[in-house]
Amino acid sequence: MNAGAKFAIGALLIVGAVGYLMASGVKQTGQFFLTPSELSQRVAADPSFYNLGMKVGARVVPGTVARDPAAQILRFDITDGSARYPVVFHGLPPDTFTDSVEVVVEGRLQRDGVIYATDVLAKCGSRYEAVPKAA
């Protein structure tokens, strides 16, 4: 077997490994990214759609933010205009989190209808656009 053919085998192995890693990576770590109405449709269609890791992108309902700094618990409601869910988050929200900001909530919807968030990301203000970084 010449070197070219051997190299082709090696290359295939690498490509295969990359492909496998990517496929299994998506399978293991992929999370639904839903709006509140999509979430409510899913729950209506599939009553077992609870306790699944997901991200929900929505807007914080003004006036619903309740902070309990001593216990580091943050409660607020999110909505996309039609569906609405309460969120409970244990931790420090980002600086940009405020009333009525757009957020991405990472967490699990439980049977009590509350999303228990493991992470809350707030979209930065509109005047952030050209800056190539934030978190």
């Binding site: 290359a11 890693l21 990517m22 979209k123």
Partner: protein, 673 residues
């Protein structure tokens, strides 16, 4: 001044179109007058765009709030440092920055490229003009930085406090310089394709340029990491955010190119591949610009939905389509002059290195675009986050780290068994030894163990290379060893500078591995109360809340919290963390309060303290305490990497006579193996 700015933009627009037309036409028709005209067009455009930059800076410094851009990004009480950097704080200004830097790079490329490459230059001028003209078009028709408001606000809105950080003054321009300078190698690649001069010559012409953009991207990424770490307060430096990924992608492809280009120079192989890499890197840089400006990807960065995105998408598709067509037409001219002789050869290791880099880039791109792809394919948006990137990229990164050590040890064409034994014995033993030490020290995590063991292996290979080279000089010229090492690096900058870059990479990998051991705790403390946290080295840190002080500073109201830190009962110092409420000149709040992190950086670990807030305005404070191991080494590794890059890049390299003897000497070194 906006009149001047607008005028300058229009001049740049027309001159750019003229330069693009004359550049391509002059090159294809062989008409010297048109070629000369295209060359002049680049310089004229450069002058016009710099005038526009001057006009915008003038408006910024004179607080001309009637200009929408000035009102949107600055305020009267903004420190002067940041007023200057407001040039690229917003979309419109950064487009101007892009175009003007590109025209400067274009002018430099036309001025400093050796006359040997003269046939390529008209096309280069044409590509530079076309790309810059596109950016000017976007400004003129969709995002004009000189747009005026119908009224004049008393004060501007000010700059987002998170951008008021020295890192943010240097991070965007560095990244932009990297992005933008890729256009020059790309322009040479297009020139080579159009002029059919597809020998090694065009590669020589762009070698330095590819390094320049690679280095700027690296510096930009590193400063960005530093900024995220000290300013954003989430306790890390890399979050696999789409915008970070967009900057990483071209860097990965450029790194692949810098390696594979050596195979073409030495062996005349990989011609198609190298061209494809240059073109791919440039398309990714435009794609990254599109991604960060269009809002197509749900990122935490909110990018205003503006027509700018469509402009970029259109340009991207047009550029990709025409480039690919040109590339395919020229494929028959790109046949390799040699074939791979052995799997155990430098060529083969470069090939695998390239495959891994492209695999990395592809998986990062895939993960970044997955929300869009999954929506198209399955109708549901599915996102992947840091766990995906870690799962996929850690194995690939470690394989690359291994190749970093293996590649330089293997001979070109075909390595013999004794050669392999001689080269690998010491480094392999060193790597295993380091691994053993870590196991004995109690480390059991697979990833970090492999990373550190490979780090030992690669370090040993680099030291071995330096040692052998220096000893050869010592024997041949009788130079003392220190001088021999310095001369060795000086006379073979590319090779030994490259090894220094490899050392930087090793340090970065080991530092990344350290983050696997990060520990964190949150606590709500009254003054005098304390929280404890155990570091991965087994120390117990005690953080004692001392109290809160509130005061006014230049453009902000500060709430500062002081924390006393002790390690195993011995005091180590005091850390301050702040909440800053920025205000405008009238004392009204602007933006949300931002957090200033308290950091105590050490060789072993960083203490990272964040003030979460106060409980109902009392002195009871909510804290997050984090211990981040080895972060200092990320910055140090970054310095080493940049230093190595600069050594490779440094102009000159001795007289031709020196270069000849040096070449002979290199051959001798190779023969000794």
């Amino acid at each position: 001044m906006t009149v001047l700015g607008n005028l300058a933009l229009w001049v740049a627009f027309l001159v750019g179109i003229w330069g693009a037309l004359t550049g391509f036409a002059g090159g294809l028709l062989g008409r010297a007058d048109l070629q000369q005209s295209a060359r002049h067009a680049v310089f004229a455009m450069c002058a016009a765009l710099l005038t526009a930059v001057f006009a915008l800076e003038w408006a910024l410094f004179h607080h001309d709030f009637n200009v929408e851009y000035v009102a949107a990004y600055t305020s009267r009480n903004l420190p002067i440092f940041y007023t200057w950097s407001a040039l690229y704080a917003g979309q419109k200004g950064s487009l101007l920055f892009w175009a003007s830097v590109l025209s400067v790079f274009g002018a430099l490329a036309l001025t400093f490229t050796s006359r040997r490459h003269a046939p390529l230059l008209p096309y280069v001028a044409g590509v530079v003009c076309a790309v810059a003209a596109f950016f000017v078009t976007v400004m003129l028709f969709a995002a004009n930085p000189f747009e005026r408001l119908a009224y004049t606000p008393v004060d501007g809105s000010g700059m987002n406090p998170q951008l008021q950080n020295p890192g943010m003054v240097f991070h965007p321009p560095m990244l932009y310089l990297g992005y933008i300078s890729i256009t020059i190698p790309f322009a040479f690649a297009i020139a080579a394709l159009l002029s059919k001069k597809l020998d090694v010559d065009w590669l020589v012409a762009i070698r330095k340029w590819t390094l320049v953009s690679w280095l700027f991207l690296a510096i930009g990424l590193l400063i960005g990491m530093w900024w995220a770490y000290v300013e954003l307060g989430w306790g890390g430096y890399w979050a696999w955010d789409p915008v970070e990924n967009a900057a990483l992608l071209p860097w990965l492809v450029m790194t692949a190119f810098l390696h594979s280009v050596m195979v073409q120079e030495k062996r005349g192989m990989l011609k198609k591949w190298n061209l494809a890499l240059v073109i791919g890197a440039w398309l990714l840089s435009i794609f990254g610009t599109f991604l960060t400006r269009s809002g197509v990807i749900a990122s935490v960065h909110s990018f205003t939905q503006s027509p700018v995105g469509y402009f970029f998408l259109g340009f991207l598709l047009l550029a990709a389509g025409s480039t690919i067509v040109l590339y395919v037409i020229r494929l028959p001219l790109l046949e390799a002059e040699a074939t791979l002789e052995s799997m155990v050869s430098r060529e083969a290791s470069f090939l695998f290195n390239n495959l891994l880099f492209i695999g990395l880039a592809f998986s990062v791109l895939w993960g970044t675009l997955y929300p869009i792809l999954s929506e198209w394919l399955q109708g549901t948006k599915v996102t992947v986050g840091p766990p995906f990137f870690n799962l996929v990229n850690i194995p690939l990164g470690l394989a690359l780290l291994a190749l970093t050590g293996i590649g330089p040890l293997i001979a070109w064409r075909r390595a013999s068994i004794p050669n392999l034994q001689r080269q690998f014995a010491v480094p392999a033993v060193t790597g295993l030894f380091v691994l053993l030490i870590m196991l004995v020290a109690g480390m059991r995590e697979m990833g970090p163990l492999v990373a550190i063991g490979l780090g030992g292996f690669v370090t040993a290979t680099v030291i071995q290379e330096f040692g052998r080279g220096a000893r050869a000089r010592h024997r041949q010229y009788g130079e003392p060893l220190v001088l021999a090492v310095l001369r060795l690096v000086g006379r073979n900058r590319r090779r030994y500078g490259g090894y220094i870059v490899h050392m930087g990479i090793v340090l970065l990998f080991v530092a990344f591995a350290g983050m696997a051991f990060k520990t964190e705790t949150q606590a709500t403390l009254r003054p005098g109360e304390s929280a404890t946290l155990r570091s991965p080295y087994g120390y117990v840190y005690t953080f004692t809340h001392l109290g809160i002080s509130q005061y006014d500073a230049l453009n902000r109201r500060v709430t500062a919290a002081l924390v006393d830190v002790s390690r195993d009962g011995k005091p180590v110092g005091r850390l301050k963390t702040e909440k800053r409420q920025h205000v405008d000149a009238l004392g009204r709040n602007t933006f949300e309060a931002s957090t200033e992190v308290g950091i105590r950086s050490g060789l072993r670990e960083d203490l990272y303290v964040v003030l979460g807030g106060l409980v109902n305005g009392t002195e009871q404070a909510v804290y997050r305490f984090t211990i981040n191991p080895l972060v200092w080494w990320v910055w140090f590794g970054g310095y080493v990497l940049v230093a190595g890059g600069l050594i490779v890049l440094w102009p000159g390299g001795g007289s031709p006579a020196v270069r000849r003897t040096q070449a002979g000497y290199a051959v001798k070194l190779e023969a000794q193996r």
